[in-house]
Assembly symmetry: C2
Amino acid sequence: MPRTESAITNFHGFLQDQGLKLTSERAALVREIFSIHYHFEADELLFKMKEKSVKISRATVYRTLELLVKSGLVRRVHLGEDHYHYEHVSGDSHHDHLVCTTCGGVIEFLDEPLEKRALEICEKKKFRPTFHNLQILGICDSCRRKGEEPEAPDRVTMIAARAMKLRK
Amino acid sequence: MPRTESAITNFHGFLQDQGLKLTSERAALVREIFSIHYHFEADELLFKMKEKSVKISRATVYRTLELLVKSGLVRRVHLGEDHYHYEHVSGDSHHDHLVCTTCGGVIEFLDEPLEKRALEICEKKKFRPTFHNLQILGICDSCRRKGEEPEAPDRVTMIAARAMKLRK
DNA sequence: AGTTAATTGCGACTGAGTCTCAGACTCCGG
DNA sequence: CCGGAGTCTGAGACTCAGTCGCAATTAACT
């Protein structure tokens, strides 16, 4: 799977166009990001690098993510609550998200008629779209089956889930 | 315009159902919120109260907003970047947003075919939606006209714009 | 190899949002 | 109309994501 290396090449090209440099830190981050086939958070990435004993500072992680977003190799997504999540762009394209408020799971989808309709709306409003972001919050099938509406939308477990992430 | 008072009545009902109380602070916040006919941020609300010399602490503002969201009288929206924005629900319903990345302006819209399509997608995926949130980022008509693509998406001015908001 | 501008890490900082707890208030029953 | 139980408030400390400034380092072109 040479996807990762081609991503680095792409990124390198982008950096050169901007008069910027491809450093070992940046390359390592791209490699890591393209091995994560899911959404991730900035601090999660930082933590993974630390686990692998690749020393990269928080600032660099954030700076690199910003560059990657600008280059188009990585996309920023809002999922349900809180702060940002990221995902790498796999050559192919855009999709939207169904986010389960009970288990936190995310289902991706791409729906042509919906995309088309969104463009028509923009046209009507004379708005030139560059990107869009649709999340539908709700309850996924499996959560619905086990226990109808298992209480509050589980802020608690989501927080607990990330409590482990020691900082620094 | 008795909308505000009926909102307070609604909220009172909601609170009672939960065994909670309608305090003067909560009422004042509801009154303020229903006089803002646009999106606002939590700290902005705090600031407005301060301006009017109605003393309400930050904690109370956040706590009340949470209750209002739960009660359905206020909606949380993501707009473009950063943190949350809120808007009151005006009896009528849901809408989505076109957000201009140049001037920060927001155009609201409600499009039936699009809403319908979103529901169909949920059905297909056996997902029970409770809410959705669509933002389309791009360039609005007037920004497009004056100067094609006036540089970077103006993070700077957005930050400057809020720099004035002294804390406390 | 040398130069120079870009990059890094560090630690301090910011800003939104949360938590704790003592004192204040609401609301209900009497 | 009063008292008590339990909710609510304000203040300030705290958290957590993200940013910034700066001195030391490094990529990349010559």
